[in-house]
Symmetry: C2
Subunit: 363 residues, 2 copies
């Protein structure tokens, strides 16, 4: 099938770019001396995770129990559920841990207490706040050492190490600021690991990561693994942050111009919030967008004058009067949220649709 | 099962409130002398559409071919696809129209030309812009009369009438402004219908609607049907607009507090963008929110000091230090987008989970 034959809206995945992104991150982590445990919440797709594993990934990272179960049932046997433990999900996690090596993440005494009730030995990571200020313990707080010690001392818990996410790298305005966030993460994490070891709490692993940080960081001494996810696709946010080039962006939404009021300066496409999501992209970089129109797909060049300026449930509004019936390709602001709105990837090489891969977007 | 036993995040649907909302809108449309063809994109759920039909709905409205096919396959035989015709979806629509009465919507010469190629008689509505300025022809443009005439004159097309959506009612600051939008819609549509009839183009039906407009409009003379959808659930946006009371909101997200940094002023819950969506709600009414915490479910009273202030993929951040392990119920900003992120409704009466209904969220 050719691209022109696809009904819209469709989620296109460029196979060549995907393979390039996977190979480059594998090479980069190898050069930095760290293992890669990619976050599959970005793609929720078995075929992509299999390619990451073939390129050397040591396991995968997931954000929900549904994702953990899906990938475990399809042969992935080393999984970190990188989300603060949800007590009501513990029975499912315990059940899964009989079939795969499942790492859980905790950052509170309440969660450690819940783990103790599981009735089964479980792997656990301590989540550390490395400057993003969302989840995670404060590495400067003495109580954080106590919590790590509790994990290590509890017979029913296998303490795997410490884990962080440099989400604040997404807030950087310049390469310099993003690199500062990446360095802050490494510094805080390796210092905290040293503090734990000095207090006789062994720390097997130090796990970090975000795609922007991995794009710029030059030294990961003391870190053992990274968990980037978005790098398989990239998106407009990553492009604006400088994490990738325009020709690396592997996911676009194919849409049709379905309406254009006579004399109006805008037109309407069949890709709205349930195709693109309502993510506003890198707002701190000062460009209001709900999605960017690709002007030349071969180079990835965007059209500086045309973009999706608003979305409702199924409608998108483009700030230009395009011909009704014509088609556009949109680079989404946030490829993870965009992919989660679709059932399948239409896998393409140039203008040919070569495959169709399922997106496991259950809850 | 009791509410306390549900794993989180979960989408809760209050059966009593749902039934009340359906009954009240049925009574209201009857009192106004118009038929009701509810938009099922809000709920994507057979059990809810069946209740709307039992309460007198004459048919349903959908926004995608997937929705049309799903409901047609489950016994709904009068469906309007209220979205400007997507040419690449026409073959699917033609196929469906053999099994149900399917109304298509057009607003351009290009779409009318596409209809002529279908090889099968099709029902078509002309979409009219009633002040929202998204899709639809300009009723003041003489070319719009010509387009209606083309629809009427084409043997392969059954012209059903004119159709509008008062989406600009969502932009109102006061009841007065919302009522003005509703009146503008009725005025423009009935005037345009009269103009067409004077030009010897019969207009069988005049279809309008939005939930905020239907909450305030007092006169629908000349209108034959309305297509509101959101009223089955309502949400924080509708509450802020005055379309409903707090005790009418039928959908909430049940979430768990999973993390709270010691000494921090915030906490983290397991409901992020893939539970609540990234809809920012009624921003023009000046309250930054990604979701509102319900303080007292029985009355629907919100907590004025606590709300979800940011969401990433699976994390939500609440602007208060809540106890880790405690649970919250969140009133979403936009119930349509929230429901579209889940696979099922957990149907509840008070604290009891009485049923589980599938959400047909395919594309």
């Amino acid at each position: 099938m050719q691209l022109d034959d696809l009904p819209t809206p469709a989620l296109l995945l460029d196979l060549g770019r995907l393979e390039g992104n996977i190979a480059r991150m594998a090479a980069r982590t190898q050069a930095l001396g760290v293992r890669l445990r990619p976050h599959v919440k970005t793609h929720k797709c078995l075929e992509i995770a299999e390619r990451q594993r073939a390129a050397g990934a040591v396991g995968i990272t997931v954000s929900t129990v549904y994702e953990a179960r899906t990938f475990a049932e399809h042969g992935f046997d080393d999984i970190t559920w990188a989300f603060p433990l949800v007590p009501s999900r513990l029975p499912e996690a315990v059940q899964l841990s009989a079939h795969c090596r499942l790492g859980l993440v905790v950052d509170s005494p309440e969660a450690v207490a819940a783990l103790r009730t599981s009735g089964r030995p479980l792997d656990a990571w301590l989540k550390v706040d490395c400057g993003y200020h969302r989840a995670g313990v404060d590495p400067a707080d003495p109580a954080s050492v106590g919590l790590a010690r509790d994990l290590h001392d509890t017979p029913a818990i296998r303490f795997r190490g410490i884990l962080s996410h440099s989400g604040h790298a997404y807030h950087g305005h310049t390469r310099h600021e993003i690199e500062a966030a990446a360095n802050e993460e490494r510094e805080l994490m390796t210092t905290f690991a040293a503090k734990l070891r000095a207090a006789d709490v062994p720390v097997p692993d130090v796990s970090v990561g975000s795609t922007p940080a991995m794009a710029v960081v030059r030294d990961l001494t003391g870190v053992t693994e990274v968990r980037s996810g978005n790098y398989v696709f990239y998106d407009y946010t990553q492009l604006a942050l400088g994490s990738c080039g325009p020709g690396d962006c592997a996911v676009t939404v194919l849409a049709t111009v379905v309406s254009g009021r006579r004399g109006a300066s805008f037109s309407v496409i069949d890709a709205g919030a349930l195709a693109l999501s309502k993510d506003r992209g890198p707002e701190h970089l000062d460009r209001h967008t709900m999605g960017e129109l690709v002007a030349d797909y071969a180079t990835g060049r965007l059209d500086p004058a045309r973009r999706v300026v608003s979305v409702s449930q199924e409608h998108g509004v483009v700030n230009a009067p395009l011909a009704v019936g014509s088609r556009v390709r949109i680079l989404p602001n946030h490829s993870c949220l965009t992919a989660a709105q679709f059932d399948t990837y239409q896998v393409v090489r140039d203008d040919e649709v070569v495959d169709c891969w399922k997106i496991w977007r259950g809850r």
